[in-house]
């Protein structure tokens, strides 16, 4: 059996990768909101932290009533209990990656989890 899974994402509005890639440690979605649009609800999480990366466009997020302006290259971590809602700018779409992981689930990483092979 293959040790990897692969997909390609084009210009869809929202794509979720958990099932497509058989993820076991994260849910990842790629999201695009057209200019003037917003996620139609406020939400928080029970156990998962979310990391958002803005890959294109601009907009804002409101976190616990604080407004944070967003542009491509911005990355945020949002704690589970924070109430959040994302908005595209009135004159620009916003495209962002959302990575959902269980808070405090990562143990060792990078050099401490890697096995490096000489060749």
């Amino acid at each position: 059996m293959s040790n990897y899974t692969k997909t390609h994402i084009g210009d869809e509005g929202r794509v979720e990768l958990h099932e497509t890639l058989s993820l076991t440690g994260a849910e990842i979605s790629i999201n695009k909101l057209p200019a003037g649009a917003n996620v139609p609800f406020i939400h928080s999480h029970k156990n998962n932290e979310e990391i958002y990366g803005i890959v294109d466009g601009k907009g804002k997020v409101i976190i616990d009533n604080e407004t944070i302006e967003l542009k491509a290259g911005d990355w945020l971590k949002i704690n589970p209990e924070a109430k959040r809602q994302f908005f595209a700018a009135s004159d620009s779409q916003i495209t962002y990656i959302c990575i959902q992981v269980k808070e405090n689930s990562l143990d060792a990483f990078t050099a401490d989890d890697a096995i490096v092979y000489s060749y």
Copy 2:
């Protein structure tokens, strides 16, 4: 104390977000290899699965001796034990996100982990 952390990433060669954003469930890096360059070693992981998203450019990855061509929009999950090495194309840089999470660490997610507020 704030319920979020934030940073901005420009055109650096490699940026790691774990400390910068105080991540607890993932390590995330943004990586750029110039045309003709490659990660200078093969590696696998003990406990972590990695999810890679190609955000710009093109190249390839060799996973367990299989070569997979890569272009912007491609996403892969690689199992911990797979041996991997990333390469930029000879005529193009490649920019990719690497998300490292503990295998089998995610329980409920999205609707099952969310609390939605009406307003």
